[in-house]
């Protein structure tokens, strides 16, 4: 069973200035994800992780190769590096956005958005505006918005990178809980070996630009906490694979 498959994908961006003649972000990128998996996409800065994520969402089209969703394009939730909220709208309206676009009746949409906010750990802040929320809380609204339409596929682009460590850990734990509760398939972009060792069941390590998969690591069970020996061991394996990918480049 495959939910999403990228095969031999290449992507080049045209140069934005007269000094750059275009950037080859990806070359020969191939991987597939089965329903229910939690996959981390790990790699150095600028290796094309975010580009791969946008291709997976269908927001970009590949220049070479193919992006396929064998069962049809699934309902997809997307969480960006920044919360990307509408500053003129309160938390509930922000979380409701996908339902509003799908013309779900207002009362039903409000109830679902309020439930999504509560599950994302933001009960009682439905009427707060983004400027009234902390960075972590804004990210929770973003997460609630991604989950409100009950997606099968959740794509996250380094969502916790800008947060402090305590908030990052709390959100990571909540993400893992939500993955289980919603029965989601998750593709999570990060450059943290520790984060991916704790959250994901499988880690794809990318090479520097132009990015492709250097290692596909299935993580062992027994990672019951961030500091469990199995988690630390998985983190070591991911770090080693990253170093190897960098050295080979």
């Amino acid at each position: 069973m495959t939910l999403l498959a990228l095969s031999e994908v290449g992507k080049r961006f045209a140069g934005g200035t007269r000094f750059a003649d275009g950037t080859e972000a990806l070359r020969g990128l191939s991987f597939s994800i089965a329903p229910g998996e939690f996959v981390a996409l790990v790699g150095p800065s600028g290796c094309g992780k975010s580009t791969a994520l946008r291709l997976a969402a269908g927001l970009l089209t590949p220049d070479a190769g193919m992006v396929a969703w064998p069962d049809g394009r699934p309902e997809t939730g997307f969480v960006f590096q920044e919360p990307t909220l509408m500053p003129w709208a309160d938390a509930l309206t922000n979380a409701r956005l996908p339902l509003d676009l799908g013309r779900v009746p207002r009362r039903q949409a409000d109830a679902r958005a309020a439930a999504a906010l509560a599950r994302a750990g933001l009960d009682g802040f439905a009427r707060a505006y983004p400027r009234e929320l902390s960075g972590g809380m804004k990210m929770r609204v973003s997460l609630a918005r991604a989950l409100v339409a009950q997606p099968r596929l959740l794509l996250l682009d380094e969502p916790f990178a800008a947060l402090d460590e305590i908030t990052r850990h709390a959100l990571g734990d909540d993400l893992k809980r939500l993955w289980r509760e919603y029965g989601l398939t998750v593709l999570f972009v990060t450059h943290s070996a520790a984060e991916s060792a704790w959250l994901a069941g499988r880690v794809l390590v990318m090479t520097p630009r132009p990015g492709r998969i250097a290692a596909d690591i299935a993580l062992p069970p027994g990672r019951d906490s961030r500091l469990a020996p199995a988690t630390i061991e998985a983190q070591r394996a991911i770090s080693a694979a990253l170093s190897q990918a960098m050295a080979a480049a």
């Binding site: 269908g58 927001l59 997307f78 960006f80 920044e82 509408m86 003129w88 996908p98 676009l101 799908g102």
Partner: protein
């Protein structure tokens, strides 16, 4: 305390300036046809109250019609520009051309084309031309400033162009648009006055015509009274638009937030 100071300080400056003016005119025995004293202007204002108010209403009517037309036209064109690069490339140079051409130079043509029997329409058109560019420029910049990630998110959820425009682009553009409209409010008044000057007496009945007429008759106190009314109208328009801006942005935009 700060609020009291906001009102008291400008009033104190006005009182000082008017007092000094009054004193200087009497002390140096300046003739009224050169510089009337504020008390003389007040007397002229009271004596001509009804006709001055009629003129103010005529000028305000042209100003408000032009402001509404400029706002609608500016926003409509800006929306068109963001929906079609071709339209923007085709029309933007003409909008700039209209903006940089002195309106005094084209006003007589507009009067001739529209006809002196419909002078009010001509005045509105001229004032609209003067006022509409800041709205167009502000709205265009604002509509293009939408967060790219938010636009991607809209696309991901299958949003239509109209949904993207209504839910993301227009709210993003609102602060820019309101800023343009504040400038346009003042420009519409200036445009109305310029248009009345060009139209000349016998056709227009607004404050500009009163200024020309009073000048010709050497009724300088009445001229000053009309001038003061114009300035007051400009301040009221600006204040009303500032209030509108505050009402629309106070919950979320940095510019309208009270910081301790």
């Amino acid at each position: 305390m700060k609020r009291i100071a906001d009102i008291a300080l400008p009033l104190a400056v006005a009182a000082l300036a008017l007092g000094g003016w009054e004193g200087a005119v009497h002390h140096y025995a300046v003739p009224e046809y050169v510089l009337p004293a504020p008390s003389g202007i007040a007397r002229a204002f009271c004596a001509n109250f009804a006709s001055l108010m009629g003129s103010l209403l005529a000028t305000l009517s042209v100003t408000l019609q032009a402001f509404a037309a400029a706002s609608l036209l500016g926003v409509a064109l800006a929306v068109g520009f963001t929906q079609s690069r071709l339209l923007e490339r085709t029309l933007y140079p003409y909008a700039v051309m209209l903006q940089v051409t002195p309106v005094v130079a084209i006003a007589p043509l507009i009067l001739i084309w529209v006809g002196f029997d419909r002078v009010n329409l001509a005045l509105v058109i001229i004032a609209t031309i003067v006022a509409f560019f800041p709205v167009l420029a502000g709205a265009t910049l604002g509509l293009k400033s939408a967060d790219f990630n938010l636009l991607d998110l809209m696309r991901l959820h299958g949003a239509s162009r109209a949904q993207i425009l209504w839910r993301v682009r227009l709210p993003t553009a609102l602060p820019y648009l309101l800023s343009g409209m504040k400038t346009a409010g003042g420009l519409a008044l200036i445009g109305a006055v310029v248009a009345e000057f060009v139209a000349g007496s016998g056709t227009a009945t607004g404050l500009a015509w009163r200024i020309v007429e009073s000048g010709n008759r050497l009724e300088i106190a009445t001229l000053f009274a009309a001038l003061a009314l114009l300035a007051a109208a400009g301040v009221v328009i600006f204040a009303a638009l500032t209030l509108l801006e505050w009402l629309l942005l106070r919950r979320w935009h940095e510019s309208a937030l009270n910081r301790p």
